[in-house]
């Protein structure tokens, strides 16, 4: 029997949801096993870094790398897996564009560590210990991986062949990618976003869409939305308009707004800026003819003031890959 090509999956700064998405292939996971040798996946298999170290370069045919680059260990594993993999795929939102971990780019490293280790209401840390790369102990120096001052994407630290968006990627899209490789089909050009569409979620969303004029914004708990009508037209901040399709518009289907996990559509560089472009131009200002310039401005400010956290909403998943990448200091 010919040797099967190897496949690997690694988690850096992530939640484990990407592995769950892979397991959600259900019986098809057996098809992966039939076609590939599952060489490395710390979440699901007892495989160690030294196993990877021992492999020749390029020995793993495909590596799905999920998780953002938060610390030195994440970076080291990214560099190792780049060397040992034929095709390295940024798998999921964290490795592609930073996702939730990258929201800490709105704060300094010191603020993040202070919140997590000192001010968190559920923490008990009377000695006020904050982790640091080196600690002197009677037995000698202890080392832990250094924490970076910002969250990076996989592409920021190594050469990446493809990315699969999503938080997490939809299983049927994971299967599309795996199946393409199994069938030996021609692979898309390097750098492509695969396992997704190229347009916006609105293209897949079956809700009725009419002219958009927003009178006021609602947060999801403030309104029971009409189940047929476009959520944005009802004043709910739905990110579908600035988010890549491919998920099947799952959230709008169940009356919840898209929060943007599939990232930017083809040709868009900044999801937050595009949301500003979309929402800022559909505000219903009513008749402005009799208003002074200041009064128009106040009317707009009143309308948009009900959204408390624009960066958190518009960059929930894509801050590390956005144009400005974080908060300037």
């Amino acid at each position: 029997m010919a040797k099967k090509p190897k496949i690997g999956m690694y988690w850096a700064s992530s939640c484990g949801g990407c592995e769950i998405a892979l397991v959600n292939l259900h019986e098809r996971i057996l098809d992966i096993d039939a076609n590939f040798d599952f060489a490395f996946c710390p979440c699901l298999l007892d495989t160690k870094k030294k196993d990877i170290d021992a492999m020749p370069d390029g020995d793993i045919a495909i590596t799905f790398f999920n998780g953002a680059i938060r610390n030195e260990e994440n970076k080291e594993m990214a560099q190792l897996l780049r060397k040992k993999s034929g095709v390295l795929i940024a798998f999921g939102s964290c490795s592609s564009e930073g996702c939730i971990p990258a929201l800490s780019n709105l704060h300094s490293m010191e603020e993040t560590l202070k919140t997590v280790y000192l001010e968190n209401p559920t923490i008990d840390n009377p000695a006020c210990i904050i982790p640091r790369p080196e600690t002197d102990m009677p037995e000698g120096k202890l080392h832990i991986p250094a924490f970076f001052d910002r969250v990076k994407t996989l592409r920021d630290v190594v050469d990446v062949d493809y990315s699969i968006p999503g938080c997490p990627p939809e299983p049927h899209q994971i299967w599309n990618v795996v199946d393409l490789v199994i069938q030996g089909g021609p692979l898309p050009p390097k750098g492509s976003v695969i396992g997704a569409g190229s347009s916006a979620v609105c293209d897949e969303c079956e809700r009725k869409k009419e002219d958009k004029k927003i009178k006021r914004f609602y947060r999801t708990y403030e309104i029971v939305p009409d189940s047929e009508k476009c959520l944005l037209e009802q004043g709910i901040v739905c990110m579908g308009i600035a988010t890549r399709d491919g998920c099947g518009a799952l959230c709008p289907k169940v009356n919840m707004p898209c929060t943007g996990c599939y990232g930017t559509p083809e040709g868009v560089f900044d999801q937050g800026a595009k949301m500003v472009a979309a929402l800022g131009s559909v505000l219903d200002l009513g008749n402005t003819k009799s208003l002074s310039e200041d009064e128009i401005e106040r009317r707009i400010d009143k309308l948009i003031g009900s959204v408390p956290d624009y960066a958190g909403v518009f960059y929930k998943y894509s801050l590390a890959a956005s144009i400005l990448k974080g908060r300037s200091r």
Binding site: N105, L106, A146, F148, D149, R150, K152, V268, F269, D270, G272, A273, K274, V276, A277, L279, G280, S281, L283, L285, T288, K289, L291, E293, I296, E297, I300, D301, I304, V307, D309, Y310, A311, F314, S322, I323, L324, K325, G326, R327, S328, R329
Partner: protein
């Protein structure tokens, strides 16, 4: 070159009113600081917020958007759409560490060369006081 900080400012000016206003200031030989690089756009509504982000990322210390007065837009309400975006963008930029004085929107008609000069003067002065903008992407990254 003196050691004093000279702000780099990108100005997006609408073709129909503000660019003509700037032109008039030029024809009248009104002096104003040379810190603003002008980009002519057909309408202030054409200014994609991505342009503003890209300007800051590529080294601008400030951005100015100039539009027709409300009611005077060549395309009826492109300027109002630009205003809606600008007000929202200011909130987003604030969270990204960019002060509102660095991103200005105002109205300049084709006849208002004096107002054009005033907006440029005021913005250059305000940005000079704030100092250079250092985008997050230029931080050490460690």
């Amino acid at each position: 070159m003196s050691g004093e900080f000279e702000p780099k400012i990108v100005g997006f000016l609408c073709n129909w009113c503000s660019y003509a206003g700037a032109d008039k200031a030029g024809t009248a030989q009104s002096p104003y600081p040379p810190n603003v690089s002008i980009v002519k756009v057909m309408c202030s509504g054409r200014v994609d917020p991505q342009f503003v982000m890209a300007a800051f990322d590529k080294g601008a210390d400030g951005v100015i958007m100039l539009a027709c007065h409300p009611g005077d837009c060549h395309y009826t309400e492109g300027n109002l759409r630009a205003l809606g975006r600008h007000r929202m963008l200011l909130r987003l930029l604030e969270q990204l560490g960019i002060e509102k004085e660095r991103c200005v929107m105002d109205y300049v008609s084709a006849g208002e060369s004096e107002k054009f000069v005033k907006v440029i003067n005021d913005t250059v002065r305000a940005v000079r006081e704030l100092g250079p903008f250092r985008p997050f992407s230029s931080h050490s990254g460690k």
